[in-house]
């Protein structure tokens, strides 16, 4: 029998992870509206599945993986691919300042973004990241090295 998640379940999950999900989604989508869409889709996926999390860590890992895949799918969408962004005329609705570091993070290739976030912000080690994202730890290490190189180049060697 399929289990439906109650409003309370969803609310609790949302309160626990909204900040994390928003950071991941924003790093991919680079604007609030699309990040909110990605978060909504992540929760829609949760609503449509009958998954029962064994722990908070399991719950977190599922949300990170799902949100990452949803953002990547959204970015692959034909409409976004064909959309021409006019950064000069677009109105920034962000309520937070985007400094040079954040700008450099946002401009990283998409394949490095989740790894960077999990390593630097969440403090996971490469083995844990490999487990969460279901990829080999050697891939995680390689991605971290390449991402670091890009960031160093952009932010300057004295930030090391």
């Amino acid at each position: 029998m399929r289990k439906y998640h109650s409003d309370e379940d969803i609310q609790a999950l949302y309160q626990r992870h909204i900040d994390m999900l928003f950071r991941i989604c924003y790093s991919y989508m680079k604007n609030i509206a699309d990040s909110e869409d990605a978060i909504s889709n992540t929760f829609l996926k949760y609503i449509q599945t009958d998954i029962e999390f064994q722990s908070i860590e399991h719950e977190k890992a599922w949300l990170i993986t799902t949100a990452t895949h949803i953002c990547q799918d959204m970015l692959k969408h034909w409409w976004r691919r064909n959309k021409i962004f006019d950064e000069q005329t677009s109105v920034s609705l962000e309520t937070f300042a985007i400094d040079s570091t954040l700008d450099a993070i946002l401009k990283l290739p998409n394949r490095y973004k989740t790894v960077i976030y999990l390593y630097y912000y969440e403090g996971y080690n490469t083995e844990e990241i490999a487990q969460i994202l279901h990829i080999p730890s050697s891939t995680v290490r390689n991605q971290l090295t390449r991402a670091r190189k890009i960031l160093k180049k952009k932010l300057g060697d004295n930030n090391e």
Partner: protein, 192 residues
């Protein structure tokens, strides 16, 4: 660089109002999920209800006859009273049973509605010859005379356009019912 990246990520934050709006949007998305079985259940219920009440509105006294793929045949030598019990129109040399069945058939035929009746006509020797009369756009007459010990034992099928009464006898015919068509066997004499 570690702290710098962590600080940069800390800045990415959705304000409280937006968080609340997003949560209510997510909870709204859940609503159709709750009621996703509502429409299929309603459709099934309405279908079941229609099936249940259909007989109440179906005033047709007989089920709509279908032209049988297999020839009409009755394999038993029924006595007149047995045939009567089965609801057949029965005509023997001395008596007639279930005359209302043939009247019902004729009424429906006159109204242009599909009709069906089975007749058992008994020979002088007391053998039944079974007739099936069906009206469905045309008149289909099927005869089973295999129980007639002194006549031809055969299964016959005829198709005519009309059904009529002429000189105290019922006939099935295609064009007109008169002396000529009767004499030239262009119609089928059914029963007096």
């Amino acid at each position: 660089m570690n702290n710098q990246i962590k600080d940069a990520y800390s800045k990415i934050r959705l304000d409280y109002t937006s968080q609340e709006k997003l949560l209510s949007h997510i909870l709204q998305m859940k609503q159709p999920q709750k009621h996703s079985y509502f429409i299929p259940i309603m459709i099934v219920s309405v279908c079941l209800l229609c099936i249940m009440i259909y007989p109440l509105f179906n005033h047709s006294p007989l089920p709509t006859p279908q032209v049988a793929d297999t020839p009409f045949q009755i394999d038993e030598h029924l006595l007149p009273l047995e045939a009567k019990e089965k609801g057949y129109y029965v005509r023997t040399a001395i008596s007639v049973y279930n005359h209302d069945k043939i009247e019902e058939f004729l009424n429906l035929y006159n109204q242009g509605k599909p009709a069906e009746v089975i007749c058992a006509l008994y020979t002088d020797e007391g053998d039944p010859i079974y007739y099936s009369l069906q009206y469905l756009d045309t008149i289909i007459i099927q005869i089973d005379s295999r129980q007639d010990r002194f006549g031809k034992k055969e299964l016959l099928r005829f198709e005519y356009k009309y059904f009529g009464y002429y000189h105290n006898t019922y006939y099935a015919y295609n064009t007109v019912l008169d002396e000529t068509t009767i004499d030239t066997d262009q119609c089928l004499n059914l029963f007096p």
